[in-house]
Amino acid sequence: MADYIKFVDVTKCDGCRACMVACKNWNDLPAEPEDFNGSIQSHRDLTANTWNVITFNEHETSDGNFEWLFRHMSCLHCNQAACEKACPESAISYTKFNSVVIDAEKCVGCGYCVQNCSFGVVQLATYKDKNGSEYRKAQKCTLCTDRLEQGLQPACVVACHTDCLIYEEKDLVLAEANKRLGEVKERFPNANIYNPQGIEGTNTIYLLADKPSVYGLPENPKVALSQVVWKDYAQPLGKMMLGATTMAVIGAAISNAVRKDRPEGDHDHE
């Protein structure tokens, strides 16, 4: 069985944003227009109803060149996913396709995954039940796991016309990424492959045209040891002893204490 991963070669992206609406179209997500933010970027961040966003960054490189940098921002599907570790309800899991998915049935909307994600990916959506009372669920990109199950590629990948987004066998992708890195180095000397090892790599890897920080990405995200201890040891034990709700409260305390190293306010929305 071949491992497949998603590859985002940002140097091929022409910013058309088909991936954004392809996601909405497949997943039936509503439109949520935002206020004018000074650029053509439509959303400042990912939201519970907007699972991928193209960022637009007017960047002057260190050698004085101008580059308008585009990036398809969405869930990276970490191999060691902080959201999965933080979830007190075990609502978040890895699939056989290496995607990280949220089980809406199990999700209680506590939001620890939101706080713990290194990339600002997971967000809470508010819904109303039949009686009008509000409840919340965590939402994010599923890598179109429902499509993968049928052998179809993710909707964003299908829509992409420049092959900036591809979904392919992992070995092929890594080879392609290295080849492309060599090709783009002349124009983008800071280009790099983003596949952070602190979280054991991701199932969406990027070829970035500049340093991760230029794109608002953490240089070296990690899942804190305390979080691993919490998820893999304390939580199962505690659940046996205390019951889930109490554990959720303790969990919140821990995850706030060990908050990931995602820099605040580093998203560049030019």
Binding site: K12, D14, G15, C16, R17, A18, M20, V21, K24, N25, P30, A31, E32, P33, E34, F36, N37, G38, S39, I40, S42, E58, E60, F66, E67, W68, F70, H161, T162, D163
Partner: protein, 788 residues
Amino acid sequence: MTNHWNDLQYADALMVIGANPAENHPISFRWISKAKQKGAKLISVDPRYTRTSQMANIYGQLRSGTDIAFIGGMIHYALENDMYHKEYVAAYTNASFIVDEQYSFEDGIFNDYDETTRNYDKTKWAFKKDENGEIVKDPALKDPRCVFQLMKKHYARYDVDTVTGVTGTDKDTYLEICQTFTGTSETGKAGTILYAMGGTQHTVGTQNIRAYAILQLLLGNIGIAGGGVNALRGESNVQGSTDFGLLYHNVNGYMEVPTGSDQDSKYKGFLERITPESGYFSNKPKFYTSMLKAYYGNSATKQNEFGYHLMPKLTPGKDYSHMRLFDAMYRGELEGLIMFGTNPVVGGPNAGKEKEALSNLKWMVAVDLFETETSAFWQKEAGADPAAIQTEVIFLPACGSFEKEGSVTNSGRWMQYRWQAIKPKGESRADLEIVHMLARKLKGLYENSPKQQDMPMKALTWDYGESDHPDIDMVCREINGYDMKTKQQIKGFGDLKDDGSTCSGNWIYSGFYPESENLSKRRDNTNEGMSNFLNWSFAWPANRRILYNRASADLNGKAWSKDRIGIQWNAAEKKWSGFDVPDFVAAKGPDDPTFNDPFIMMAGGKGALFSGGVNEGPFPEHYEPYENPISNAFSSIQLNPAVKFGEKEMNAQGDVSEYPIVATTYRVSEHWQSGAMTRNIPWLAELMPHMYIEISEELAQEKGISSKDRVIVKTARGEIEAFAMITKRFKPYKLKDKTIHQIGMPWHFGYKGIATGATANRLTPHIGDANTTIPEYKAFLCDVRRAK
């Protein structure tokens, strides 16, 4: 497009000028990217840095309205540095033709100009002929009166310093562009030029495109894979609607509309006027007569000149184009306006005035999917006083493209069929059904009229079934044409006759529906070579994918490049063959004196470096836009001398002293045209929800404008308010004598729909190109200030 979308992958260099395909034709980048992956260089020439510029290898900034200076400089560069395709130029273009003595050019003016009418006598731009009536030529291209030498002289003035002083392009970048693109003159290389409305929407629009074509002929880039002059057309079927005569000056297939004149008073005289002696259009009488037969059927007889007199005749010399139409409406000369899917209150030039003109109508019919700003021009929301507007408005809801069936023709001339996926929403109906029902009602009203003036309506055939729902297959069959007696579908326009024995609604499409099947429905995507996909849909004419493809082969009929085989002369089989349908007589061999005449639509068969057919002169010459910030560096003539002025009140002009900033308008990926559709699509309104003005950091600082401020842009026509988008992607132009600022804005917005915003066209001038009268949307003067 001379070529087509998939063909872009075969280019070695692609120059995008007056277009922004990454934003406005995004899927073109699937093929542009493939070319780049193979090492092709992409050049983006644009007033501002666009999404296309980011994808490009070289970006050259040019001030709006200076394309001829830019390209003229490249022509100069090519000629000075021997970077042109010598064999191709000598054999396939009119470079060797000797121009007769009358031709001259001095200080911006060609010979035989009449200042009062602003017209040239174009008959005085002619070639010298010998006693047998043959054009005199100098194959060595040395004669000072040959086209090549005259062209060289004309563009000698377009040196790099003068050019960049006008365009504002960085000199080193300009030279890099010249070198890269003229490098495709090497035999076996290919370069393509992609343009759109950034090229055409100028008072010199036609000559902009002529300049691109001249450069491409010099580089040997026309007729070959990966080459061409490629207009990236903006609407899904603007190609088809142009092919089908929805412009005042053409009937179907680019033939003339008759005039009320002595020459045109008889069908015979009219045909004599419009039919050239040589070239493919020498068959015009067959095409025209077959069209009249399609229109009037058995009422078109030899005795009544095939119903020619039933056709309306234009007043000679009168311009009925969009702006003149609105001028007439403004003067109250029009009673009724019928619109099928169009929204001039957002899309028209000087849109505020065009909107004012609408209230002079007695009645208006709007057929559309959404309530447009134009159909609702009488509402309070539009700033109108409904009680004061006496126009009766009828809105007919049309259905969407996949709620009906029919074909559209893309930019590469592929006629592709669309099938019906769902019934029309609600009570909406297909446009085909609407025009059919209307025609049947009208024919009913005229049925028993004895009046002579009602004859055209009575004679008009309308045999598409008796129900409200027309039989589209009957329409398709009529467009293709058939034998009037046997009713057998004709195989192609070669079978059309001028004796009334055939009909064909549109000769350029004939062949799409032979007896066997409607070829626009074909879906065989086998690539049999050079990605021409000859069995996918149908391309006019005659399923040719690359126009002028005879020029893909050398003087012996052999491909210039083995990597770019179009068609080649097969000596054994005595015919042209290859990966495309020959745009040439298939059996025309080397023994034929016209074997090396690839441009079969041109009289003489040669590519026109020198053209007597364009209103402002045989060679493109730079003039400044109607509103301009500097004096013309090339002559004392500021504005295109052949441009006409319309209704004065519609056409206020701003001066640089009051309006010092250059402005332009454009489109973005997420919206389409006047936004009538896309601003009503929730997901698109979400991607691009706000109207904005793009302003350079330098200008913003000068004007005290911060990001997200509300700003007011003012021109001689009006003012609008929108958000300020401060960007590094606009930079001031350093021209020869001064620094000029430019701003830009999308023109998609209006007050209806989900995404609303100010209409950019309230600012644009009501003046246009001297040949096409396409408005000069792309270059005008304004001032900008922060809204209080």
